[in-house]
């Protein structure tokens, strides 16, 4: 990595981290401080420990980081003004979001562990979908935990990559066009949901067996593992493939970025 690329990674990481803290601060204000103040005013009972226990920090950070990955055009504007190419921006964004995803999931995991230790919160396994579905596959608990952490970080990173791709596609459009595209997609979504529910009411669901087989394959399920924990190899492969495809597609989209008249 060149010195310039490192500078861009640092710039993006700092920017995203600051935005992340800003969003988190508002979530804490809305989720803990505001209800607490309201309970003081109205005289209702408020349990601070329960409120802290109810915060699912990992998934929250997962979504927030993904949302921040959607924002592409504002960074592009600043970077192109400062003589940074689109390719370097793409590379730096991928690296910055790898770092942010890893950091945020590490914080999320640490938070659950600390809760368990201090406030007798739910154990981390109960929060982790990976541990529930694939945890039993590993004979060694430490390995299971490590793989689960890795999966959390990888899935958060790949989710961010998907969001980077989506955000970059939207960045190709002007504000007005973007609104129209969102409106069109929303309409299509509503029509699709209505059509599916209509079909379900009339005929019930009959999903093609090949689709079920494909979904089973992607999830690492086969008939021999019925009733047992599933093999996590496939989900890891799925994520890696999805991540590579998303990042390569986002590079192609970002290469078409240009400064717009807005």
């Amino acid at each position: 990595m060149t010195a310039k690329e490192k500078s861009v990674v640092f710039f993006l990481f700092k920017r995203v981290f600051r935005q992340l803290l800003y969003v988190l601060m508002w979530l804490l204000l809305g989720g803990i401080v505001f209800p607490m103040v309201l309970s003081f005013i109205t005289g209702t009972n408020y349990n601070l420990v329960e409120a802290i226990k109810n915060i699912i920090l990992g998934p929250m950070l997962y979504i927030i980081v993904g949302c921040l990955a959607l924002l592409s055009y504002s960074d592009f504007k600043v970077l192109i003004q400062n003589g940074i190419s689109r390719h370097t921006y793409w590379k730096a964004k991928i690296v910055a979001f790898l770092g942010i995803s890893a950091l945020s999931q590490a914080i999320g995991i640490l938070y659950v562990f600390l809760l368990k230790l201090t406030l007798s919160g739910l154990s981390w396994e109960k929060h982790s979908l990976f541990m529930q579905v694939y945890g039993g596959f590993f004979k060694n608990t430490t390995v299971a935990y490590l793989m689960s952490f890795l999966f959390a970080i990888l899935s958060s990173f790949v989710f961010s990559l998907g969001c980077i791709l989506t955000g970059s596609i939207f960045s190709l459009f002007a504000k007005k066009q973007r609104r129209l595209v969102i409106l069109a997609m929303l309409t299509l979504f509503i029509v699709a949901v209505a059509t599916i529910s209509n079909a379900y009411d009339k005929n019930g669901f009959t999903v093609a067996p090949k689709i079920i087989e494909l979904l089973n394959f992607l999830a690492g399920y086969d008939k021999s593992s019925a009733g047992k924990a599933l093999n996590p190899t496939m989900p890891f492969i799925d994520l890696i493939i999805f991540g590579i495809v998303s990042s390569l597609c986002s590079l192609q989209v970002m290469k078409r970025f240009k400064v717009r008249n807005e």
Binding site: K4, V78, I80, N82, I84, S85, K255, K258, V259
Partner: protein, 289 residues
């Protein structure tokens, strides 16, 4: 080849051709003027050179390497444009830090000195600045950033006469001290004319004049006198404009005069200034032979 070379640049927006077959060279260590009327394609050309948009055809190189998607080349270019690419929520000091982080070696002391001269508080947010102060802030960056080529697109937009004067003084001072290349695109030609060494005039997406200011003005004349004599004297010359006041007529000529032609006593020949030349070259009649 040394400097920035734009070769056969063509740019269309939808079906409209904005730039057509643009060829020019920007050599290091000069102050260039890029002149053209509104919509002539100046900003588009600068945006292409700074890799902000892509041409439909052609290439731009810096010291032989393409500038497109080339960090090394882009790191030697700074384009200050009318468009605000900085985040409105960022403080000016933060933006200076970002410029330093990404360009390196930013001259902070000079930036602070300029901010004091222009009475700009660097603790403000960019979005809170007036049009004039946004221009001033961008000018400060363009004078302090460690690049070889600085492109200024409408650098005095929104500036009052005092600030314009200050800017021209700092520009020349900076040029003398650093030897940077400046390319200035502006409508206020009269104010900057004395500082320009080389000029490009763009009309309808094509470069119609490309030369050192001295050489260009050497062939720019105003022939005035009684209408009949002036018309006779300028027959066959490249008359790019005309002015009349009663029976007195002034013909603007761009190109060599016929040395063998006898100048009537009633007709005078004067040199044209850059602004007059520009106006006449870019109006409906102005054309080059």
């Amino acid at each position: 080849m040394d400097g920035i070379v734009a070769k056969e640049i063509k740019k269309n927006f939808s079906k409209k051709t904005v730039l057509e077959n643009i060829n020019l060279q920007i050599k290091p260590g000069k102050i260039y003027g890029l002149l053209g009327r509104n919509g002539a394609g100046k900003s588009t050309l600068l945006s292409i050179i700074a890799n902000r948009i892509f041409p439909n055809e052609g290439n731009v190189t810096l010291d032989g390497s393409t500038v497109f998607e080339n960090d090394e080349a882009l790191g030697k270019i700074y384009l200050m444009s009318e468009r605000n690419l900085y985040s409105n929520s960022s403080k000016l000091r933060q933006l200076l830090n970002t410029t330093e982080l990404l360009y390196g070696d930013f001259d902070y002391n000079y930036a602070q000195k300029l901010a004091n001269i222009f009475e700009l508080d660097l603790n403000q947010k960019f979005g809170k600045l007036s049009t004039g102060y946004r221009t001033i802030f961008k000018l400060i960056i363009s004078l302090c950033v460690p690049v070889k080529y600085v492109f200024l697109d409408e650098p005095v937009l929104g500036l009052d006469a005092n600030h314009r004067e200050l800017f021209y003084r700092e520009l020349v001072d900076n040029y003398v001290k650093t030897g940077k290349t400046f390319v200035i695109s502006t409508h206020l030609i009269e104010e900057i004319a004395n500082s320009l060494e080389h000029v490009f005039v763009i009309r309808d997406g094509k470069v119609i004049v490309d030369g050192d200011v001295e050489d260009v003005l050497e062939n720019a004349y105003l022939i005035s006198g009684p209408a009949k004599e002036v018309e006779q004297y300028t027959v066959g010359l490249n008359v790019i404009g005309q002015e009349t006041l009663g029976n007195i007529q002034g013909n603007y000529v761009f190109g060599e005069l016929d040395g063998e032609r006898i100048l009537p006593d009633t007709v005078t020949v004067e040199k044209m200034d850059l602004q007059k030349l520009f106006i006449n070259l870019t109006n409906a009649r102005g054309q080059l032979k």
